[in-house]
């Protein structure tokens, strides 16, 4: 891990060299950031854990495994999330068919009732299983939902400001992202309300490389208005493992696919 930290420092210092090839098209930067953050490889798997801390410092934990498959690069995707912790959500599973041309299809499986519950489409900027992350943070927000403006290019970052095309469907008035010029990973996102005040911040704390792909391994979201934060860590990350399409169906909600959920040997 430390070796990677040093490498990323070196990479950051090299970014000055890359400055000659700076991009100037905001839509292209956003498109490349979207690919870097959500579309690495044709598929991927990761174990994730979150610590949810409220304003009083009380903590809750969640642990789950995510499987992802890209139907089309930059396009439709499928996600399967299976929870292992805490004990009252163990076996709960979440299936997403993410679409670029219409609302996502989402299902939640509640093992106690053997119930496959479908979740309505609007419900995406609300808490993901009690965390400060939203459902949309987990599967990605459509770039076409916002208009993008490049406001600054620094040595290390493209700084962009984004405004929602339909303000009624979101809680923010705008957000600003710092996109790493080398990796195209959004390293910091600040959300502002209509008064222009920052109330929510997402930060990348650590990036590592897996199979040549720079990957966020630790991130944090902070509720600056109400206090509290959620820390998220990713481990046992693999890309291009060949997860078949039929893993992302109702079958996997009831019978989680052990072959793909089992932790790979490191």
């Amino acid at each position: 891990m430390r070796k990677f930290a040093i490498q990323s420092l070196i990479l950051l210092s090299l970014s000055a060299v890359a400055a000659a090839e700076d991009l100037s098209d905001a839509d292209e930067i956003v498109s490349r950031a979207n690919l870097a953050a959500y579309y690495v490889g044709a598929d991927g798997r990761s174990e994730v854990r979150m610590i949810i801390s409220d304003a009083q410092g009380r903590q809750q934990r969640r642990q789950f495994t995510v499987l992802r498959r890209d139907v089309a690069e930059g396009g439709d995707q499928q996600f399967l999330v299976v929870f292992s912790q805490p004990s009252d959500v163990r076996g709960t599973a979440f299936l997403v068919d993410k679409h670029v041309d219409r609302d996502d299809d989402r299902w939640l499986y509640l093992p106690g009732l053997d119930l496959v519950k479908r979740i309505s489409a609007g419900d995406k900027r609300t808490s993901f299983v009690g965390a400060h992350y939203f459902y949309e943070d987990v599967s990605g927000r459509r770039p076409s939902d916002d208009s993008h403006e490049l406001i600054e290019t620094t040595d290390a970052f493209y700084v962009l400001r984004h405004e929602p095309k339909d303000a009624a469907t979101v809680e923010f008035a705008s957000y600003t992202t710092w996109i790493d010029k080398l990796t195209f990973l959004p390293m910091k996102i600040e959300y502002r309300n209509s008064a222009g005040k920052e109330y929510r911040r997402v930060e990348v704390v650590e990036v590592q490389e897996f199979g040549g792909h720079p990957t966020v391994t630790t991130s944090r979201v902070m509720d600056l208005a109400g206090g509290g934060q959620t820390d998220m860590q990713f481990r046992y990350i693999q890309y291009d493992v060949g997860i078949p399409q039929d893993i992302f169906t109702e079958r996997s909600l009831r019978t989680p696919p052990r072959e793909w959920l089992e932790r790979p040997a490191e």
Partner: protein, 426 residues
């Protein structure tokens, strides 16, 4: 000088080292899943009491229990053994009770077939607390007493075979010995009896006569389903019995009438929300013409619902449900109690309002059943507070009312109750 280089390195590593100290996760926590099996569950205390006395039942309380849940899963090779059981001291019944909710062996046969054998909870269909083609057993006593929603679904001993294919998925469930609903017996809640012309609470509690345990009296349930571009289509078939003791034997004892059903459902996104629709036809095999007053008639059931997020964290669900009793004139002509027969068309409207706050720490929910034809209602407010991953508190009420003594919710007026449950998850 020779210490300078390591010192420089230390400076570089300092931020990472600081973070490591802040890291609230022990590095070992990732190893949790390496264990092949683990035990978990909860301990829960629950207390509920009536708003007003039921003259037929001495106990003013509707829930008095300490419940201990133990569950685990064991996965040797390609097999999965599941176990989930409750032990509870029930103050209403004045005794310890035990219930195995899951005791199953599950495995995959071939690439596309899953089997699950043993005691299990099963659910399908699109209704929200309204069931048409889901003819798996339900526990209405737990539901009305304010136990967790999970207990509405009762376990059954079954073999479930699921076959998945691109054209159509098939679920087949065989319950060799009929598993009825947990129905009203008069022990905790009194119920309406047409013979008495009012509510009764028999002692000993009502115990309906169950079908003989023979191979042909098992329950067969089938679902064919497919998801096409987010539209979920399903066809259903069932062969077994009405799940409630709505029939009478020749000795006028309650029993379960033979029933076969066919149905279909659709669930799809529409506008900002989700639309669901479901139909079913219940064929009462021993009274197809409807002339036997001891046996329920055929019924056609219809459901349409819509759910959407009206505001962030505020979800609204609306359903319309119809029970159409067929051969109704014949039923009334032959009934000894025509005044107490259900209406030919029983209309039911439901409304679910859910508001979540504090990142799901607090949940306010109100489920309303209202029947304009029966002129009765059932309100089900629940407040849930999740204090931590271990502690949760549930406070709620079950409020019944109506204008006639014999309708489904109206008969439960004296069962109206409020309850509190505290749960510790381990």
């Amino acid at each position: 000088m020779k210490h300078l280089l390591p010192a420089l390195f230390l400076c570089l590593l300092l931020p990472a080292g600081l973070f490591a100290q802040e890291d609230p996760w022990g590095e070992d926590d990732w190893d949790d899943e390496e264990q092949e099996s683990r035990w978990s569950g909860f301990v829960e205390g629950g207390f509920g009491t009536r708003f007003s006395a039921d003259p037929l039942i001495d106990n003013p309380h509707t829930l008095e229990e300490i419940r201990w849940r133990l569950e685990s899963e064991w996965q040797p090779g390609r097999y999965t053994f599941g176990f989930k059981a409750d032990a509870a001291y029930d103050g209403i019944e004045g005794q310890w009770t035990g219930e195995v909710r899951d005791l199953t062996l599950a495995f995959t046969a071939g690439a596309s077939t899953d089997l699950k054998i043993g005691r299990q909870v099963q659910t399908w269909g699109t209704g929200d607390l309204v069931f048409l083609n889901d003819l798996f057993p339900k526990d209405f006593v737990s539901f009305f007493a304010g136990r967790d929603d999970e207990y509405l679904k009762a376990p059954g001993n079954a073999i479930r075979i699921s076959k998945y294919a691109p054209a159509v998925n098939i679920d087949f469930s065989w319950t060799p010995v009929f598993e009825p609903d947990i129905y009203l017996t008069g022990e905790r809640f009194s119920f309406f009896s047409p013979i008495a012309g009012g509510n009764v609470a028999p002692d000993p509690p009502l115990s309906a006569i169950e079908p003989e345990k023979s191979l042909s009296n098992g329950e067969f349930a089938l679902r064919l389903f497919r998801n096409v571009e987010g539209r979920e289509y399903a066809l259903y078939a069932y062969n077994g019995f009405f799940k409630q003791p709505r029939a009478l034997t020749e000795d006028l004892e309650p029993t379960f009438a033979a029933m076969t059903s066919l149905g279909a459902s659709l669930r799809r996104p529409a506008g900002p929300g989700l639309l669901n629709s479901e139909v079913s036809y219940y064929a009462s095999r021993d009274d197809r013409g409807g002339s036997d007053p001891l046996i329920p008639n055929d019924q056609f059931r219809f459901l349409a619902g819509y759910e959407w997020e009206a505001r962030p964290n505020f979800t609204v669900g609306l359903q319309y449900y119809l029970e159409w009793t067929l051969d109704y004139d014949v039923l009334i002509d032959n009934s000894p109690f025509p005044q107490y027969e259900a209406d030919e068309f029983r209309h039911l409207l439901t409304n679910r309002l859910t508001y979540r706050a504090g990142r799901d720490r607090y949940t306010w929910s109100l489920f309303t059943f209202y029947s304009p034809s029966d002129q009765d209602f059932y309100l089900r407010p629940i407040f849930t507070y999740r204090h931590s991953d271990q502690w949760s508190v549930y406070a709620g009420a079950n409020l019944f009312g109506g204008n006639k003594p014999d309708t489904f919710f109206s008969q439960l007026q004296d069962a109206s109750n409020a309850y509190l449950r505290v749960r510790y998850n381990y």
